[in-house]
Point group: D2
Chain length 372, copies 4
Amino acid sequence: MRGMRMSNSIGTIFRVTSFGESHGRCVGVVVDGCPAGLRLSTEDIQGELDRRRPGQGSVSTTRAEGDRADLLSGVFNGHTTGAPICMLVWNEDRDSSGYEARRWTPRPGHADYTAHVRYGGFNDYRGGGRFSGRITAGFVMAGAVAKRLLSDALGVEIIAHSKEIGGLRASDLGVDAIRMNAQGNPVRCGDPEAAERMVESIMKASAEGNSLGGVVECHALNLPPGVGGPVFDTLEGDLAKALYAIPGVKAVEFGLGQEISRLKGSESNDEYAMKDGRIVTRTNRAGGILGGLSDGMPVTCSVAFKPTPSIGRAQRTVDIETLEEVTIEIGGRHDPCIVPRAVPVVEGMVAVVLADHAIRAGLIPTVMEVER
Amino acid sequence: MRGMRMSNSIGTIFRVTSFGESHGRCVGVVVDGCPAGLRLSTEDIQGELDRRRPGQGSVSTTRAEGDRADLLSGVFNGHTTGAPICMLVWNEDRDSSGYEARRWTPRPGHADYTAHVRYGGFNDYRGGGRFSGRITAGFVMAGAVAKRLLSDALGVEIIAHSKEIGGLRASDLGVDAIRMNAQGNPVRCGDPEAAERMVESIMKASAEGNSLGGVVECHALNLPPGVGGPVFDTLEGDLAKALYAIPGVKAVEFGLGQEISRLKGSESNDEYAMKDGRIVTRTNRAGGILGGLSDGMPVTCSVAFKPTPSIGRAQRTVDIETLEEVTIEIGGRHDPCIVPRAVPVVEGMVAVVLADHAIRAGLIPTVMEVER
Amino acid sequence: MRGMRMSNSIGTIFRVTSFGESHGRCVGVVVDGCPAGLRLSTEDIQGELDRRRPGQGSVSTTRAEGDRADLLSGVFNGHTTGAPICMLVWNEDRDSSGYEARRWTPRPGHADYTAHVRYGGFNDYRGGGRFSGRITAGFVMAGAVAKRLLSDALGVEIIAHSKEIGGLRASDLGVDAIRMNAQGNPVRCGDPEAAERMVESIMKASAEGNSLGGVVECHALNLPPGVGGPVFDTLEGDLAKALYAIPGVKAVEFGLGQEISRLKGSESNDEYAMKDGRIVTRTNRAGGILGGLSDGMPVTCSVAFKPTPSIGRAQRTVDIETLEEVTIEIGGRHDPCIVPRAVPVVEGMVAVVLADHAIRAGLIPTVMEVER
Amino acid sequence: MRGMRMSNSIGTIFRVTSFGESHGRCVGVVVDGCPAGLRLSTEDIQGELDRRRPGQGSVSTTRAEGDRADLLSGVFNGHTTGAPICMLVWNEDRDSSGYEARRWTPRPGHADYTAHVRYGGFNDYRGGGRFSGRITAGFVMAGAVAKRLLSDALGVEIIAHSKEIGGLRASDLGVDAIRMNAQGNPVRCGDPEAAERMVESIMKASAEGNSLGGVVECHALNLPPGVGGPVFDTLEGDLAKALYAIPGVKAVEFGLGQEISRLKGSESNDEYAMKDGRIVTRTNRAGGILGGLSDGMPVTCSVAFKPTPSIGRAQRTVDIETLEEVTIEIGGRHDPCIVPRAVPVVEGMVAVVLADHAIRAGLIPTVMEVER
């Protein structure tokens, strides 16, 4: 049977390489190309990691992962050295007992079947292996470095929240409301009222052995104009590529997204104006990007996640050894809705892409200017 | 003012490099990494190019471009040699007269302002220069090579059509209907009835000095399972990145796309079954991709375009020299709706990405097996 | 039979893509990632191209190539735009008559056999096709852009000459002597006396139907310290890789090169000193590179070329169709010694690599600062 | 002060990313793109690592490193999974006490000064940090995977030895002699008699507080013809780039190397012949490479190392804080000659490059064919 090669690196100068498996020894990343002299500590990484930790309240898996960031290289005396930064999280609470039994019966909606085909059956199938949502712990660690870099060098802030869960949509909110409210509820939604209904909906789905999807909305503030890399390395293209690496993503759009295709040109163009001595647009339907380049307005995107494929119901599949149709039921501990935990992952991947592009734009010095 | 570097190449092994400007001497591409021994002629390239040619009927620009494919290297005795294939289209009907006058007043919705910031004013601003839709002539030429390769080596077929224009949506169609009908109407829509309404809607918008957007839907048939490159080089991610290089794209989604985020897990999972001795899914909500890898079902995506930003109405902008707010009107010859001409461009970019991934998957030999 | 893919691009940010064949329509390059605002004209390119032109005196081929640089994109109003620069030379004096006859009998020392294996016989075999020294016309054009960039942005100067031909070695010369003398003789040697003997030696070899090799020595002056990209993208490594792309190169060394391996540590270390307020080394045995990074001293390398494999003598080979051993004689117009014409090619490739690394080092702005 | 970014990855499909510092917590690598289904165990890695271990006899440093390979990901049930393989060696015997004192006085011949400039003083200067020879432990681990892959898939064997130390040159040896003898003496030389003199010479230099350099010669056997990637990714170019990543290398040559430039064409061309039904060359002056592609003969290269720059003698340098000229003496435990320990490192880097190119050539399946 045929297989294929993985490509576990992303970025051109600020470059992230992912490794590790759900039920192996660890998941981690190597971040290469970070400028020297950036203040960075294990606590910086841990803070972001804590935001994606499972076991927080009733809406997520009960797998109890301590998820302690372990910083192996690239930081010396509290600053980055310019050398590659290797960070990982050791896997502790691994219960692999159930996976052997269902090795040959791929779960619908998971990568079990496609991974089996690709790697000729040699893939680590326990808990999805390389295809588990757990690898996003590494994405968050890389994102923590990128966020710190963007913040220290350019004052860029990245804020995401759950815009929609199970079809329940938050009201349209300014970034201030999101920043204030999103961390105060278990679904990480900027609209507290909608958040309550989302929680109820998740619990109801969970009780029914079902799962929900949703949409994460993300804003990047203060990015200077002119960042991006036409014609192929557009901001939209590189952000979309990075976001599609998060398991479960099925749509990525910018600004008004698909809605803008239903407007007329006179309704969709963002006109220019002067404000406080700067060129701005009067509206931001384009999501801060024109011609693949930032225009100085907030960069906004929406990322749609399908419902968690692991559900507590009987499902039809095929035994890939005997090629017989069979019915399976999936046990294990799973999130009925992955969206809240995906919020810091989306922020992290957006940060990784913007850090790379800001460096390519010459906006970040190769050695940070710090007082010593 | 700062600027930044372009990145005009895409792909890992089957690699496309774009060059040229709207009002320069030519637009073209170099395709590197194509297997040797592929039958290829200028006519193959020309056939695809003709499908995107402007000046076809009432719905597009009157700029009369002959757009003759010129094949400069990499083909010998009717077959590819394995060497880079340089192809270009010479620019003939260039009317650059109007552009000097509006050099300093960026058009809303265009890349005029962001390109100016990025290149410190050195960019070729005539007709959008590097940011013009005209560069997609090169994408189509590269796509023609990729399509031929996918077809000859794997029997993969790629079919797109205009799914929606100005909010008017075609009915849900099978691929056979699209293949039969889409080339028979000026809007390239697989639903002839919807096509008529779309044409009317475009002509109405055009008469009002306005423009429309829309959605192109694309299907890739017969792709074997296991193609793609997790964790970062997913099929979705690489397709999205390539599609966002087409000017005007603001959303890319796969399978049910954003709609799948509103379903429950029990409604969104595609169950497996056996059919004619092959493992298939009973539904294809995931658009033929799981874990970033093809699952053997048709790969389907939707690409949303914003309305053409060039409209015949007064618009407010800023003079970037004087920093004063001004009002402009844009003349010139523009498409009131770019969507029909984008159909072969979407097909071409999808083909380029799938060709690269199929090669990476080991599915295409490095020398084509041909009878000689 | 198996084949493989070419990789016709080099560089990370300042990136060169080569295309074209010896007896096809043209040879050319696309240079991507050049900063905007660099003064550049066809004459700049032509000047370098003229230095490698054949037909100059008795020591090179009589193939009469006008070799006019044709600049297709990326330059507007006398400056680079930041868009990809496509440049080519049209092939004019093509005499392909002799190649069909010896298609199946690979010439010893040429790439005929290896190219045939790799491309399954689909390669353009006329005049070596993609493997001809003629593709270095493209290298020289890319080098001309890189030289101009290095010179305007950093004052870096790159000077090469023929250090050795047919075992005849020039005396050790300072850069000033090389600059003054190397262009004044047909072998491009900085030592006029040695040059005379080299010319005689080439003419003698030519008369005997034989050929000579030699060594090109290259110096890059004024490169600031800290340029390079450990651990893998060292200056030595990237320069060597670029130089090995020139047909016929068999050894690349830096500073004292292989000689340094025969010294003791106390004889080979370059001690530091202060000079005019700058840190310098008292000697330059390391060739200006430590730890893969420039140290501020001249970067010096030596590139050894094997003798031209085309000789006017009977040689034994194998008919790859019949697998019989046969004897061939090669006609055609060939350089008895390629070294003099390789001098600007070596300079060009060194310039391409240093331009890329200087950009990566943050030493060259993304938009050139020019008076307008 | 300016700095720059590192690039710590090499390879296109079989891709190695290096991390770690001499006196940090570990040194390691991530190997991405290895086919699934390759038999691989910690013992395979350890075996290669043991060959470069210091503390073996009188000719190397007394730093006592256990250097136990720790395999973190990518291997499951004794086979590679196709996922990235993270391997590292924890640093145990770290004595960093001496480094603070000489932080500001760069050692001649080391990267202390260039690294300081590049990273603005943020680099981990202890023991050379990222520039230490210790990072080659990672190269050897990656090389162990590559060797296993080349051997299992293609029967390729890679054998190096110390050809020359301190100017003492081994006699010309066949590969069989090298294979039999090189591991049996502390200098890893295939010529036992020369080995004795080399040992004496090293001990004498060591006693005098001095150091020696030398040349490692490497042979790769059984590589099929047609492997390599013109025009820029030549076998010579990619091997040279990889080899220059080993600290101390100053010359890389292939086949006869610089010597071939002193021959005539009639003396340097390798004529073809038939042998056992295969096309071979009668001689191998080109080192098995023509046009950047393997020709089926053994690929041979020579790698020259400068003497270890750490010597026990007073040396002049500059205090980079005060800019005053000063004299330093270096203590610590250093190898008087690094060449013997570099033998497995050279083999490893050659293996990494050949594995990548063999995969690119389509010669290695994406899933290994194994009996299960």
